[in-house]
């Protein structure tokens, strides 16, 4: 097979000590997606598609499902120059566990002004990275 493989439980540096390769595996992102209003960019990993639900509402659909729904996610949205937004975010929708499945996660991109509650918004680019155990 064309896939080369190095099997090791520990990596050892000449002076800085050792690290269990399990930490390396667990600490690697298992899914990455950057998209512009639903169109994924070519650097994506472990995505099959994006579902564009509405303004600022998207699902990331994974090719290799996670083992359970307890995986971590980190999202970010681009900052618009000159914007008065106090906060902008790309995170799981309303914190609802029902929108997180092993094969997909529903997320919202929104901004918040000091004078106004959350407003869903389509940023130029948003990013989502997920960590966790795969099925």
């Amino acid at each position: 097979m064309a896939l080369g493989k190095i099997k090791a439980d520990t990596l050892e540096h000449s002076t800085a000590g050792t690290v269990d390769t399990q930490f390396v595996v667990d600490g690697s992102a298992k899914a990455r997606g950057q998209h512009a209003a639903g169109t994924l960019q070519s650097g994506s990993l472990n995505h099959s598609s994006i579902t564009d639900h509405a303004t600022g509402s998207f699902s990331h659909n994974f090719t290799n499902s996670f083992a359970n729904i307890l995986y971590s996610h980190v999202g970010s949205a681009t900052y618009n120059q000159g914007s008065s937004s106090a906060l902008w975010t790309y995170m799981r929708e309303d914190g609802s566990a029902g929108d997180t499945a092993t094969g997909s996660i529903k997320v919202t991109s929104a901004y918040i002004l000091s004078s106004q509650n959350r407003t869903d918004y389509d940023f130029a680019f948003v990013d989502l990275i997920c960590f966790g155990d795969l099925a």
């Binding site: 097979m1 064309a2 896939l3 298992k30 997606g33 998209h35 209003a37 639903g38 169109t39 994924l40 960019q41 070519s42 994506s44 990993l45 472990n46 995505h47 099959s48 598609s49 994006i50 579902t51 564009d52 639900h53 509405a54 303004t55 659909n61 090719t63 290799n64 499902s65 083992a67 359970n68 499945a101 092993t102 094969g103 997909s104 389509d122 155990d133 795969l134 099925a135």
Partner: protein, 158 residues
């Protein structure tokens, strides 16, 4: 490039191989569907690296594997997948055309109640189109619906 014999290789490792070795393919196809009467139309957009895998063949598991995992996840006592091996050990599907890949993607990522009887109501609940047929801007995104008067050469959501 020839796909290595991947049956039994972890699916994630295959995806990493594909990302290294295959050229991403940005599809022009979009799947427009409505799954709730009071919500706007949803748009399914294929991932370019996934599409490259589908066109290459020998990488992705059969779509039925995802249905089996979804059945497991729907159980009330579900905690974690115990049949993840289905993703890795089932014989991968052969190379697909772009159109076949879109059909596969619909069966994987669209709700089953949408695609199983998409054409049984007063109007289609699901349409495959090209991105140029979607509205040019997202100004009225939350009002998008599948057009009542479908034609292959017209905008399908407005």
């Amino acid at each position: 490039m020839e796909t290595p014999q991947f049956q039994g290789t972890h699916l994630f490792d295959r995806l990493c191989w594909a990302k290294e070795n295959l050229e991403p393919h940005q599809s022009d196809y979009r799947v427009v569907y409505e799954d709730k009467i009071d919500e706007c139309a949803k748009i399914l957009v294929p991932d370019p690296n996934w599409m490259a895998c589908a066109l290459q063949g020998g990488i992705l598991p059969p779509v039925q594997v995802y249905w089996e995992l979804a059945k497991d996840e729907a159980q009330p006592d579900f905690k974690k997948h115990t049949r993840g091996y289905l993703l890795h050990n089932t014989e991968p599907v052969e190379a697909m055309t772009e159109e076949q890949a879109i059909e596969y993607l619909i069966m994987k990522d669209c709700p089953q109640h949408v695609w199983r009887d998409y054409d049984s109501g007063n109007k289609p609940k699901m349409v495959i189109c090209r991105k140029e047929q979607l509205p040019a801007t997202r100004e009225w995104r939350n009002a998008w619906k599948i057009s009542e008067e479908l034609a292959t050469d017209e905008t399908v959501a407005a």
